[in-house]
């Protein structure tokens, strides 16, 4: 049976920069996918683009692509699918073309997928009755309209298929469902449609995409039973070898570190999943409770089943809006009764600010090492030799948060004996972009495919 090897070399913006190069070099891939966009990445990119219209995409991709150029020259079958386009897929492709040309690879055809960005027509959509209510609270978007910085529909795999059909070798998208980066090339290779006849195959490929979208999380990263023998320092990134009938094998390059086994695949199957019998994507509603896993040799797990239970008539929309400012700083407190002293130091810090007339919309004091990561859930034991004091605040006023960041250093001389760790200067203030998940009728969104 015909099969296609799809490897994912990047699970988020900030992931290991060498992983895509090593995966493409050693993975015998047909497709390399690179996933850069977490929910809040889009708001950060939107603000960048406001300042500079040429920016607003995942710049790491350009560096990675420059280094991939010799591999693209050596492996004529290799194609790349990435959502690095972020808020500016066209800008991303311009930079990508420049980078590959500089490396001597000319004549590459780039697919550009846009239309996910709803900001240009947001008021028209609202006026037409698309109220974009918050999925959980039901509140209409109108209540925060003036603070919205980005609004993107999660597009599906169909535009990726179209770009590949039109000869694109590198497909750059804006916001696309993560699993669709894998569903697209599989559907293109095997001629699957997006109607009822192919729903189970789309669901199976969605499972494959879901399993590899977070990179090393299926090859040993985050695995509960990982130990020194797992060689996470040299962890191999995942490959889904998808067959024409939708069954597939999850594996990784031979000789790389990490582990692929039923435990790693099971853990990742449910990662960030709500109802496993209804995993919603723009392509299909996939049922993960029909998936069967079996060992298929060393670092290889065969995945069968995975059924499609229809499709939705809506796209998910990820909206971000301005929600004030926050900052968090840390100090190390050592010595006997470190926990008590750290807690007192945190209180002193906030008391001093209160004396200066500053209270905050929200504050949080953590004593890390004493069980505060999930406060009250896992009790501390004993008297740790040192702890980390972390204090965080959030407030609508930037100036108040700025003032907060100046209150850590004084504790180095005015606090308890054994206070240290103030080496990185005042903590940075960052703007908060709150998350507003919503849905929109598919008919109100027009995906745009160009091959340039």
């Amino acid at each position: 049976m015909k099969s296609v090897r799809i490897g994912n070399g990047c699970g988020f913006w900030g992931d290991n920069l060498d992983a895509p190069i090593r995966l493409a070099a050693d993975g015998r891939l047909d497709y390399l996918t690179l996933e850069y966009l977490a929910e809040l990445t889009m708001s950060i990119l939107a603000v960048q683009r406001q300042k500079n219209p040429a920016s607003g995409y995942a710049t790491d991709f350009i560096d990675v692509l420059s280094r991939l150029t010799p591999i693209l020259a050596d492996q004529p079958q290799l194609k790349i699918i990435t959502n690095a386009g972020g808020m500016n897929p066209h800008g991303c492709v311009s930079a990508a073309r420049e980078a590959t040309a500089r490396a001597g690879l000319n004549g590459l055809r780039f697919g550009v997928i846009s239309g996910d960005d709803l900001m240009p027509q947001l008021d028209e959509l609202l006026a037409a009755g698309h109220t974009l209510n918050h999925i959980d609270t039901g509140q209409p978007l109108e209540t925060i309209r003036d603070r919205v910085v980005s609004a993107n529909a999660y597009l599906g795999a169909e535009p990726i298929v179209q770009a590949l059909k039109r000869g694109a070798r590198i497909v750059v998208t804006g916001r696309v469902a993560d699993a669709s980066l894998t569903v697209g090339p599989a559907a293109f290779e095997f001629g699957w449609g997006f109607g009822a006849a192919d729903l189970d195959r789309l669901a199976a490929a969605t499972v494959a995409g879901h399993l590899i979208e977070c990179g090393a999380q299926v090859t040993g990263g985050l695995w509960i039973n990982a130990d020194d023998r797992t060689r996470l320092g040299d962890v191999g990134y995942p490959i889904a070898e998808v067959a024409e009938d939708g069954t597939f094998i999850i594996t990784k390059p031979t000789g790389s570190g990490g582990t692929v086994n039923i435990e790693t695949v099971s853990e990742q199957l449910l990662y960030e999943v709500a109802d496993p019998s209804q995993y919603f994507t723009p392509d299909v509603i996939a049922d993960f409770t029909t998936v069967k896993l079996s060992s298929s040799g060393v670092d290889a797990v065969a995945v069968t089943g995975g059924t499609g239970n229809g499709t939705t008539d809506t796209y998910k929309v990820s909206i971000a809006y301005r929600d004030g400012f926050m900052a968090a700083g840390t100090l190390v407190i050592a010595g006997p009764q470190a926990e008590r002293k750290a807690r007192r130091s945190g209180a002193i810090l906030l008391e001093r600010l209160q004396r200066a007339g500053l209270t905050f919309a929200a504050t949080h004091v953590e004593v890390l090492g004493a069980g505060d990561c999930l406060p009250g859930v896992v009790p501390a034991t004993g008297d740790p030799p040192e702890v980390v004091l972390r204090v965080a605040v959030r407030d609508p006023r930037r100036a108040a948060v700025e003032r907060f960041t100046k209150e850590f250093a004084p504790l180095v001389t005015a606090g308890f004996a054994g206070t240290t760790g103030y080496t990185t200067g005042r903590p940075p203030v960052r703007e908060v972009f709150a998350y507003w998940p919503s849905l929109i009728q598919k008919s109100a969104v027009t995906p745009v495919v160009e091959v340039l």
Binding site: D136, I224, E267, L270, P375, V377, R390, Y435
Partner: protein, 117 residues
């Protein structure tokens, strides 16, 4: 009855869904999965994480991989974008839940742990 930590019977992983989080608990054996069906209820998980101020817990069965998926509502104090915690995304919820003390009958102990352990 002997008391062991949940990690004796199961492994798992957690992640965020906005201000909610999910914790997958995957049993090592069929016997362990059957035991957890009755002893790792949504109510018990909710009470374990009560200090975090969550508003509810829903449990989904995933028998094909011997798993329970727990959806913890409003557990992240604002979620990735605005929570003031270190763990904004609930990454540590699974390792915390696997510390839960759980009673297992003596005669069942040998049947719930992974074969290799």
């Amino acid at each position: 009855m002997p008391i062991v930590s949940l990690s004796t019977l199961a492994h798992g992983r957690s992640g965020d869904k906005g201000n909610h989080a999910n914790v997958a608990v995957i049993a090592y054996t069929d016997a362990g999965y059957a035991w957890l069906n009755d002893h790792l209820t949504a109510e018990r998980v909710q009470s374990y994480f009560a200090p975090l101020g969550l508003t509810g817990v829903e449990r989904f069965a995933v028998p094909n991989i011997r798993a329970w998926n727990f959806l913890l509502y409003d557990v992240l104090a604002g979620g990735a974008s605005r929570s003031l915690r270190s763990d904004t995304q609930g990454k540590t919820l699974a390792v915390a839940l696997l510390r839960m003390p759980i009673e297992v009958p003596e005669e069942l102990l040998a049947q719930v742990a992974p074969a290799s352990a």
